[in-house]
Structures are given as C-alpha cells and as structure tokens.
Symmetry: D3
C-alpha cells in the first residue's frame, strides 16, 4: 500500500477535492487512480503535478494517443510497472490498437538494444549530427 495510504474523495480537503474534480472532468471519468490519491498527502505536489500533466498531455501538435505511447515508452525504459499498467490502459481507452501497441513495444525494444551497442562500441557522433 502507498506509504501514507490513499486519500479517498470523501476524506479529502476541499483543496484536494477541487483537483480530483478537475482530473475527473478533464478525463471524462468518475475514477481517480491510486497515484493521485497517494500524492494527495502533499497537496502542493498533487496540484503542481496535475497541472503539469494536464498541460503536457493535452492534445496539441501531438494527439492524445501519441502522447500516451511516449509515456509508456519512457515508463517501460524506467521499469515503472504501475505507470506501464495505467498508461497502457489509458492509451487503449483513447484508441491505441493492439497492433499499434505491438509496434510500440518493438521500437522500444530495438532502441534499448542499439542504445547499448552504441555505448559499448564507443561510437562518436557523426560530424553532420553535431548540432
């Protein structure tokens, strides 16, 4: 269980409830995931993290599914099981197909492999790619 436990809506202060309300409204759901309930013990972190996530994950030049895929790619590389499970679910809710998921995993795997080969072989950046 989370270190300080989970703060449910009923137990939350008005400040925390307002953020839960915004999460649910933005995501069009009546469910708050454990992550938010766990960090709600630190309202400034809850508020800052939600506002940042809300801004960053909103569709823009990249659509919502693409952003979720990138999120999953980072979470797999960082080996965060919670983040993989929740954001894969979220990506699928937003329309990620099974085939897209499989291609996503294939790219994540290959990039991880070549990242290591590059370092191991001590490859220097080509002149033309030095910005």
């Amino acid at each position: 269980m989370a270190i300080f436990g989970l703060i449910e809506y009923d137990q939350a202060t008005l400040e925390v409830r307002a953020i839960y309300d915004d999460i649910m409204a933005t995501r069009k759901t009546d469910y708050i995931t454990n992550f938010w309930k766990a960090i709600a013990h630190d309202p400034p972190t809850l508020k800052r993290t939600w506002e940042s996530i809300k801004q960053v994950m909103a569709p823009g030049a990249l659509d919502a599914v693409t952003k979720e895929m990138i999120y999953v790619a980072v979470s797999v590389t960082n080996q965060c099981e919670y983040c993989i499970a929740t954001h894969t679910a979220s990506a699928r809710d937003k329309g990620l197909t099974d085939t897209q998921f499989k291609e996503l995993m294939a790219v994540v795997g290959m990039a991880s492999e070549t990242n290591r080969l590059v370092k191991g072989y001590q490859v220097e950046i080509d002149e033309r790619f030095k910005t």
Copy 2:
C-alpha cells in the same frame, strides 16, 4: 573513436557492402552513419541489427515519424547522446516539426518525474488495471 574504428564502404567486404547498400536504398540516402560502420566489424551483428531495425522502423500501424519519436524517447531515457542526436535528426528529416519535438520532450520529462513519484510513494496498481 569507435573501438575498432569505422569501416568505410571502400574497405568493406562484399557482405558488408550489401548491407550498406540496403541501408542506403531503404533510407533513400547515400550516407551511412557511424553506428553501422562501427558494428560492421561484427557482420552477424550488423546484419541482424539492420534487418531488425528495418522491419521494426518501417511504417505500419504507426507511421515513420511516430516510430522515430518513440526511439528518441527511449534514447533520452537511456541517456544515449549518439542515439538522441541521430534519431532526432532522422525524425526531423521525416517531418517532425519543432513544436512536435517540444511536446515530445515535455512528455518524456513528465513521465520521468511521475515514474519516480510512483515508486517513492510506493503506489500499488489499482485493481482495475491488473490485467
């Protein structure tokens, strides 16, 4: 410089040249990056890695730019400077806009932050996300 140096086209065996040719033809370029020239000292690895990359990075359910973005996201998370430089260049060649790049970085950054918060707060996976 790479551990065994770089194998230029002129110095390459016929086997290696055939792979260089396929790389250039597939990517519609006359340039081979240092990575391939560095691992060309191990032809089975060159061949296996190229054939895997060729298959995995080909447009499918995900387009080429999306795949390059995922590649960059993994490379940033793994802190591989070479891979970041070359695949960012490649993504831009394929049409990644500056705005898309900035959104990509914002998502990579936020995911890295929340990945850590999840672990630090010892958040458990919600029942509904247990597959």
Copy 3:
C-alpha cells in the same frame, strides 16, 4: 523468496553471527533485515558490504537522516522497491518527518524530469561549470 533463502541467526556460522551482532549493536535493534540474511550465503560479500555500509552511513559531515534521504533518492531513481521500503522506514526511524519525505520526493521527481530535458535538448555544459 531470496535465491538461496534467508540465513537466520540460529543457523548462522560464528563468522556470520559476529556480523549480525555488529549490525544489531550498531543499529541498536534486535532485527536483521532480509537483505543481510540473503547475502549471508556469501560471507565475504556480507562482511565487505556491511563494513562499507557501516563506514559510509555513519554520521559525519552529513547526519544520519540526510544520508538515509540520499540513499532513498538513489533507490527511487534505480527503481529498487526493497531498498525504497526499508530505507524510507529507516529514515523515518531516525527522525525524517512526513514533510521532509514529501520534499525529498518532490526534488527526486523534478531532478528526473530536468535530467531528461537536458539530454533531449542536447544542452552543453556552460564554460563556467567546466571544472
């Protein structure tokens, strides 16, 4: 369960018991955590690791709580759940407050985010920070 199981005090050799005794005396506890019981199957590693930890974690220019916080910061970044759980508990035993824990997590999260932005934007070290 740990790969070779856990060596309890009663089962331990005199050599291992002496280290367990030192751990308990140093930490003013009668409890040995699973980590020590798991690596006790390799007495040289048990001894070397304990002596190093004892030296490194002893209060010095940094106090014991600060050292535990740094330990937790590294463990969260490395995603080691066991280390996070045990060293967070240890830090709290030594006086870490809930508010301090929350600030610790906030810094760990932000550093993880900016670490990625730096690499992704390919930022070079300012002249003045080159040692």
Copy 4:
C-alpha cells in the same frame, strides 16, 4: 550545441525575459545557465519547469543545500553530466563543503551497489516493511 541554440536575454521575448528576470532575482545572480536558454524555445515548458523548480527547490522542511545534494544524487544515478556539473557547483555555492560532497558520493555509490545486490539475490520485502 543545444538543438535549437541558446536564447540570450537580448534576443528573448518579453515573456521569456520575465522568467529570466525571476530566475536571476530568485537565485541572486546575473547569470542564466544554458539549460534555461535551451528550453526557452518552448516558453510553456520554460515557464512550467521554472515555476516547479522554484517551488520545489525553495528551502522548506529541507534546507537548500540538502535539496541540491538530493538533486546531485539523482543526476549521478541518471548519469546526466550537465546536471551533475551545474548542481554540484550550485550546492557548493550554497555552502556544501568538500567533506560533505565526498560523503554524498560515498552514499550514492553504496546505495547503487546494494540496489543491485538486492535485485540479484531476489530479496523480498520483510513483512514489517510492507506498508
């Protein structure tokens, strides 16, 4: 060089200048590091990141030097050379002594070692540390 280059104060928009001004005022310096100049190409990221860093790194239950040490610990673990160089300099400016730096590094090193031993020996969390 950074991917889009560095935005100097003179070239900056009013929006970016206002953030540069706040960074300099908050940090009591007339110098803006390359990091901020590099991400200034994306004003929302510049603003969000600065406001978060400003909030998170401000002295609170943890003092400024302790927060910088945690930042360095994470950056070393993530292998971000830029972040290590700049935040070590910043920590020393704020009063980190050489002896404290050495103890910080010793703890970071030991935590990294035991993090791996724990995973390799497949050590399970002690019942008493399950939150």
Copy 5:
C-alpha cells in the same frame, strides 16, 4: 498477467507452434516460458526475437554459461525481475555454480558503485584509453 494473456501450444497457430518447437528443440526442454507465450501475440516480434536470441546466446567464443551470466548482469542493472529469475535459473541449469553466482553478483555490485563515483567526481578518460 501478461497484457494479452499467454498463448499455449494448443491454441497457437502453425507459425507460432513452429517457433515453440524450435525453442524446445534448441533448448532441449518441453517447457516454453511465459515470455515467449506473451509476445506470441505478435508473431513477427516472436520470430525476430527468438532468431536473434538463438543466434546470440549460442555458444561461440564465449560459452553458454558465460553468456547467461552477462544476461543476468544486464538484467540486474536494468532491474528486470522476470529476466533475473529466469536467466539465473537458466544459468544454473547450464552449470553455473553457487560460488560463481556470488562472484557474479559481487562484480555487478562493485561496477554499479564505481560507475556512479566516476560520474559524480567528473572523471575524464585518460589519454591512453581514448581509442
């Protein structure tokens, strides 16, 4: 459970069965691990990954046990519990002794520690080691 579940032999297509057969024949076992059953939902990834693993893990200039040890070293560093458990078992099946396992872990731990010290102290590569 794996995201798409596990494909058992009986449920598998002929294409997947042929790969399962080759895995069992190559490894002289009648057991397929969950990993292959999980990625079997993406036959091209199953096929590419198996053929690569088969080639890479075959005894060559390095024997099979040495290759498994390297695999475990990487998996411990990446904190992949599944990979640690299965490849440690595989290494032991192939002849890894308990003493060798302990030495393997000791090296993995020490390398992780010195990797961090090097970065934290900002150590530059000696002239003689620049390739």
Copy 6:
C-alpha cells in the same frame, strides 16, 4: 577535469601512496588511472573502494577476463563511458579477444531489448521460477 583535480603520486600523502603502490603491484603496472587519482581526495573512499575492487576482481570461481566482461556489461547498461573505455582496455589486456568482445556486446544488446519487452508486455514470473 575531475572535480578536485587528480592527485599524482608525487603529490600524494604516504597513506595514498601506499594504496597507489598496492594498485600498481596488484595490477603489475606502473600506471594509475584517473579514477583513483580523482577519488584520492577522499582517502577513506579510495581505500575502501580499492580493497573492495581488489577482493572482488581477483580471479576465483570466475577468471579475470570473465569478471572484466561482467564489469563492462554493467557499465554499458549504466552508460558510463569512462568505465566502458577503461575496463574494455583492461579486459583486452587480460586476454579478451575481439570475437569475445563482439559476442559480449551482442548479449548485452539482446538482454536490454528483452528486458523492455518483458516489462512492456507485463509478463509475470512462471510458477517454476519463483524461488
């Protein structure tokens, strides 16, 4: 350059010289690498690290080349360029052939790839591998 600079033999205290002497005698060389000269500013860390490395890297159930390979595998996974360069050189001095190096890199690359696939597909440990 290293944060506190490098301590050359001539400048070293008797305590540090004794360790340098032991390093040179153990390794049968008259050269001290930058790593030791950099951490020599913290004699307890120099002494503890050297004694640990000396014990751990000594041939035992695993020979010296195998231990160096494992060291390189960890360093590549942790992306420590200094450690990769120096320990690859060291491994080759001790007899690692070019072919062995190539096989080492191939295994490191493949393990990195499958580590990610396992997490991404959320594969659970097979009952038989639960220790």
